[in-house]
Symmetry: D2
Subunit: 336 residues, 4 copies
């Protein structure tokens, strides 16, 4: 079988190796990987290691859709033949995640634990959930990080509901799931982005689209009769965090998810305080949240937006595509 | 009767005038003012106007304890002879406060509405709640801003409970109430401040005191076995906001209350995200929250920390004291 | 103008009288009534008084859609010409409702306060909210009781979300709104009712319909793979309350709303305890909740189910229709 | 070593057998049992089996305090020499507990899993948490069921806070913990019970004591100025459930915990509905909740009320004592 591996940090070290199909240990399952969705983080882990304590050879990638083709001793949670998807932060089952104030949890697939860019993986059965019935593997593999993050933020933390107005200030992977999830709950969605993405965003249900290079805050005020948005999905970070707070309504929610514009976020204190706004720090979600999201997918028929599919050997080209940006997810179709 | 007034912005315009005792209009009450607690904001309103649309002559001050001595037509919520305290944001009764995203609510007593630094005030009966039975007027007048803000943050937003560790990074008015309220709920409290306040803070129940000029974050990690604090009462603002997030535990709460170090708050995004922290913007609280706080005061026998009392004519000296800083509240004893 | 009145309890005392158009007092508005939705309670108030301290002549009815045609002195919250709907429990603005443990709040329009079965009413401006833009008066008048109750239960108390399964054990007024609101949030809905209503319920979006005379609990178990429903809208009461608890999932919600089968509710204690179920007592909702519901109506294009419309003089026939039961609301079209 | 066992249901089958000290398997720990607290359930399991699928010989008992004296292969969560207490529902780690609507989770120690009335037990390390530092084994062993149930109800579900009034209608094991926990959060506590327990209850901090054979509801109304209690700890069940709802305030909480008066609970529907009361079904709590409770114990210095201690061979006498009732917990001191 084939598996992507690095034996040292650096894109030039990325190799598609021939290795033996792994054997599932106790309470593990053998998964035939059908598709893997890429996140920008995967590229960064390969290129910089992100300071993580990687064990080489290291395989990147966290988001797979596959089929259970082998059960290790004592494994009973999943059935042979089941279609499953991975959890990207596998230690987080339910309730609070692991970690301390000094050392937050960072143990992810393809970041601390081995990754999934391979034809087969053998991993603990607890790391997987049954895939939605209504999605193909190419679609389902996008749920573990991009989908779950948007779900956890909007639904499980901010409690979005019908009639709410939701601000989505991007058209990236999490943002598009946010758009679809907000619409599935009856919310009104305002998307900010590059003008060339307006038609795509509206095709996915956006009620309003604002060119992010204009005075978008003023437009948000006008679209909401000054009231502001109930939830802002902050995927930009940096100073944009403070702008999200400014356009959020009294009692509203800002979900801090991404940092495209910088890892330091800042805001004026007064609008946060005078409007009783709640800010939720978001880093994916728990396994039980993913199970709830899977049920929501099947019920609402949300179809993830997949921009392009590459074959397993074409991973480098897929990474290049990630670099250029894309409306929707970039997927490696391993089963192809 | 005497009433402090400015007819233009500026400390030099502050005058103690002789005026007629006001008559309560429909649904108003006449209050004999017994004590007024000062907030730093009062001084700023006098000195700069803070950009508020003040109507001159303007009386500063928001926090009174007094007695109902007259009832306007139709006033029935309060009884003659009742001891009452004011609400500082009187339009906020329960649930969500007023305001829009573009224009947050800023209508406070002594800031937009007339203030209370006077021997008598006539104001809507809806602006007052019955005072605690266990406090003197000098003590009770400290509740409407400093007390309620700490209560609303710790109890009604962050949900502090026994066994939690709470970080109080100051010994100012809100901070000391935070200390007392956290202790009344069985929490462990770490206070950071200037070393000369250690004994005072411990006398108020602080479990630990850290000299704020040392590496206090390291000490917090050590005191909590790295786990961090459950709630940080962020009364400092600026870059301190990010430090509070760093020492807060997974699933913990940061209450953004004050901005002694600057009105722009900033933080690294990753610890906020990886620890699922919730940030609550806090700006006082509702009238029903104040009523709950009054019941808590009477039940727990919390006694507010009053540093010094001045007579009504000595307001300028009291403002000077505010400038110098104080452990506990500065109060004007109007009844003296 | 015409107005229905009783001068003593009893259906035979119900008279359509000619009276003068009322004048709005201070902070009141004059409303031209366009439509009134009937609730079973209206008939009971007329027939038995329900033990309420009614002032005769008494006008029944709580749910109107109308137009603001006059403003009393100082009224500024609504504009002339605005389409509005009433709030049925007008003292409940936001947060907690009034009342004590000993004497719960019972002050409703057409039950303690005068009612709305008239061509014009003059009432406090605080008792109305702006109507949805997307509904006719005949449709909008159904929101204040039936609509808001379902909204408050499902959305503001139980927090329904996409992928949840919701049990609606009836096809009455609140139940049908529950069906529509749950569907608008992406939930799966199981309706139990009389077989002749299956097609109607499915036309409104029900995913499953169970004949309530069969072993419906077994069917619910099977439809949910034993997991049970996330939310049960308990509009039946009596022993049905305990059945709802039996078919509710771990961590699920039962909203106690109605008592068609009896005012005493009962349940086995163990399933409630072992499944960590939350029961919410529901009695309509606050005015701010109604405002959020209006926004949800306009955003999701929910169209209330109106079964039949009668003219104002035909109120007795409409009450007879209520007695017979109906799929959807019975409305008096006052403007006709 | 000694271990109590039954090889068939029935008190006469209860034998204190000599068995070999068990060996901890993979991820198990060997615990030297120091003390075991009895619950009424233990007696019922022995006497009737409660319909559970017991494997004979079966050891009863769920609540131990002990010391880790051996580590199985791969066990790393606990350290040798640590004092620990058991979790009674060991599969419930955090978030939602197991189970379905049709089959709620019932897997408890000494009820489905083997019990702890023995000198040593070997069990999964995940079934234990570190004991409070401030308690003896005799005291600490009372936390897993009686203590955690009261904690989970009052703190994690009802959110008790300072100034709340809490009704404790009994002086049993859960009730006394409820009293102590409520007091530790600054609440006012009303205890109802038999007059001979008044002094004991007041010594534990009860603000008020009502003879349960009098018109206690009227007294609760009077003590709360009709407002009612914020939280009722319903440990009686049956029709008492409805009485708790009647004396609970608007927006208040009723925690359904016990069923001394019957496993069928009933209530009038109207006070539940008109007062927006929330009912929480409570069945112990999660392991993370127990860890939080342990921290609260150490911080607040709550000392559980132990009525009597028996030696391991005296279990039958201890069961007799349970039958007679006791103010506080009955404990088996195994280490004696």
């Amino acid at each position: 079988m084939k598996r992507w591996e690095i034996d040292a940090v650096g894109r030039q070290n990325l190799k598609l190796n021939d290795v033996e199909v792994p054997k599932p240990g106790p309470k593990e399952v053998l998964i035939k990987v059908n598709a893997v969705a890429l996140n920008y983080r995967d590229k960064m882990v390969v290129e910089t290691g992100r300071g993580l304590p990687l064990t080489f050879p290291f395989t990147p990638g966290s988001d797979l859709a596959g089929e259970v083709v082998g059960l290790g001793q004592g494994a009973s949670r999943l059935r042979l033949g089941s279609n499953v998807i991975s959890t990207a932060t596998p230690d987080w089952i339910d309730g609070l995640r692991d970690g301390t104030a000094r050392t937050p949890a960072y143990q992810t697939l393809g970041g601390f634990y081995p990754g999934v860019l391979a034809e087969y993986v053998a991993m603990p059965e607890d790391w997987f959930v049954v895939a939605p019935e209504t999605l193909t593997a190419r679609q389902a593999c996008t749920l573990p990080v991009a989908g779950l993050t948007a779900w956890f933020a909007l639904v499980e933390r901010a409690g979005v509901r019908a009639g709410d107005t939701v601000l989505i200030p991007s058209t990236g992977g999490v943002a598009l799931f946010g758009l679809q999830i907000a619409k599935a709950h009856g919310a009104r969605v305002i998307v900010c982005g590059r003008p060339e993405n307006e038609d795509y965003a509206k095709a996915q249900g956006a009620d309003h689209f604002i060119d992010a290079s204009t005075d978008w805050m003023e437009t948000v005020y006008q679209l909401t009769s000054d009231r502001g948005v109930n939830v802002a999905l902050e995927v930009i970070g940096g100073k944009h965090f403070g702008k999200s707070i400014q356009v959020t309504t009294v009692g509203g929610h800002v979900c801090q998810i991404g940092a495209l514009d910088g890892w330091d976020i800042s805001s004026a204190a007064m609008p946060l305080m005078l409007k009783d706004i709640t800010v939720h720090g978001i880093g994916t979600g728990s396994r039980t949240a993913l199970e709830r999201f899977v049920r929501a997918i099947d019920q609402t028929r949300i179809v993830p937006v997949v921009n392009s599919c590459y074959s397993l050997p074409d991973l480098p080209a897929a990474f290049d595509h990630l670099d250029r940006g894309a409306f929707g997810k970039i997927v490696i179709d391993v089963a192809e």
